[in-house]
Symmetry: C2
Subunit: 335 residues, 2 copies
């Protein structure tokens, strides 16, 4: 039987690996495809397939509103969604530090399953490695995912044109604030927790309503500032956003003020930035507001002919300041 701590032997491919699989992993993830326990899963796909991966190294592993497992599933689901795909199947690669509590592992895996169910996907293949105590930090999780690209969509920064509206799906900085608070021992009201969520149902509805959406991006590491700068550069357009339109919870602004961060640079894990033709902006906004993860969606700015490659912020007092690409080191290990 599996003990209460993960040991090196659980990762060595023998009987104990089998037990970990049968007693902990399969009961959590179990589905007809995974249960085959091949070297790999076989799935039916047709046409244009989206394929993506992310590793998760967040600290702390458990935080307000979620844990590393929630991030690991939602992050990859969202990356697929942002390419214009319907996520179908994901993999889970676990790297576990020797001595990690099996109870915590079970909780993380259960959360992964919940998120997979909500997103409408299966976890179909996986791998578990164990390293010696002190050679990892609790648990690292990699997920890779595949999905069907929705026909008729063409998500590419190259399709971004002057006049397009920039829509943001809701409040920014909640995820980073939850992590920072957990790390620095700050107490936040219950309302401030990670925004981590699977956005694939919302993006599907958005693309059905407006297949000519040019770009969808989830502003994770580097925040909204990084996403806008990447798109400005790749599209060779300018982007001008309104400071007053940016939805920021007061408590998140408070954490930023205490710790010296700008919410524009903070990671989100359940938000989406969309570049939409002006005549479709209201339609897309309506569709987003009907989804629980887009209730607070709003237009935050537009694409401009001028200031190519740059992102400008029209401040509350009417000036315009340049929003630079973050240099790095904003908040390490946020996801």
């Amino acid at each position: 039987m599996v003990s209460d701590k993960v040991t090196l032997a659980h990762g060595a491919g023998g009987k104990l690996s089998q037990e970990l699989m049968e007693e902990v992993i399969l009961p959590a993830y179990g589905n007809p495809l995974l249960n085959e326990l091949h070297d790999g899963a076989q799935v039916q796909m047709g046409g244009q397939v989206a394929f993506t991966t992310d590793s998760y190294v967040v600290q702390p592993l458990f935080f307000a509103g979620g844990n590393i497992g929630k991030l690991a599933v939602c992050g990859t689901v969202n990356d697929l969604a942002m390419t214009g795909a319907i996520p179908r199947y994901i993999s889970a690669g676990l790297i576990i530090e020797e001595g990690f509590p099996v109870k915590d592992l079970k909780e993380i895996l259960a959360t992964m399953r919940q998120m997979a169910d909500e997103a409408g996907i299966y976890i179909v293949t996986g791998d578990t490695k164990v390293v010696e105590k002190g050679k990892a930090d609790g648990i690292f999780i990699n997920t890779a995912g595949i999905g069907d690209v929705i026909r008729g969509t063409h998500i590419s920064p190259k399709n971004v044109k002057p006049g397009m509206k920039v829509i943001l799906s809701g409040y920014i900085g909640d995820h980073a604030a939850a992590i920072l608070a957990g790390r620095h021992g700050l107490t936040l009201p219950d309302t401030i927790k990670t925004d981590c969520a699977p956005l694939c149902h919302m993006t599907k509805a958005m693309l059905e309503a407006a297949p000519d959406i040019a770009v969808l991006r989830d502003p994770t590491r580097g925040g909204v500032a990084a996403v806008l700068n990447e798109i400005a550069e790749a599209s060779d357009c300018g982007i001008l956003i309104d400071e007053e339109a940016l939805p920021i919870h007061e408590e998140v602004q408070g954490v930023c003020d205490i710790l010296g961060f700008d919410p524009l640079y903070l990671a989100n894990e359940g938000k989406c930035v969309a570049f939409v033709p002006a005549d479709k902006a209201d339609t897309v906004l309506d569709v987003m507001k009907q989804n629980k993860y887009g209730r607070d969606a709003r237009i935050i700015g537009e694409v401009t002919e001028s200031a190519k490659g740059q992102v400008g912020l029209r401040t509350a007092i009417g000036g315009i300041r340049v929003v630079d690409m973050p240099l790095g080191n904003i908040v390490p290990r946020i996801c």
Copy 2:
């Protein structure tokens, strides 16, 4: 410019992440699909798709005949090949310890590219995370892969039937011996190095010659013993192999004798075990011998009606001993 050590900021999603991508990762992996730098890649697939993942945590990172990058590409290529697929695209998720030498990273990425080229695949999507010094062990790499299942093949332990021949593609234990020697400071002759190699071209030829091959498996963690036990259990047949037929390099046996291991339990990274209908065994063997990774292929045993679920070894002196599933902890962090 990227410095000579990887820093936390290289993993934070800002300018330094961009520089690491543009100066180190893209020059190594670069291909038309990866260069798009979407949240995910889009690729054309049709029909039955194989999907698999593995994380690599090997120590030491560099060893006789290879490095962690070689394992990371070949391991996932081989897992796809063993499901009866032609590998097409893989992802690369890097978790790097702060302070890791950029020179070593470049060497690892270059090896990944070489192996991808040999296997005929593209590295199309990836992710880089950096954790603080002491929170990982140099570098961990996850790869996930997708491939097209070859039409007309039906790889499944359930198709294993009594009378089938068990073919092994070559010498066993070389990879583990190379790792163990590196770890314990033993000096091996130049001829003993990791067997790590992409087997997809060989398995494709085998399946074209005999689409009714029941099972292909690469005997990695847990070695040939683990693979045979898994198949015996899943097929509800017995498996009887001949000790004298097992190809083991003398020097590998020597390492095993010194360190107290049984080569049957040691990991291989460029070997394949095939379960083949008796009347196709010679054909498959011929095809394997024509490939440089199958030159030493041979029939090592057969599937039996009796001793269901068990693996037996006919010893050189004529007795039969049971080959058990390894309990675990054979050689940790071998891949």
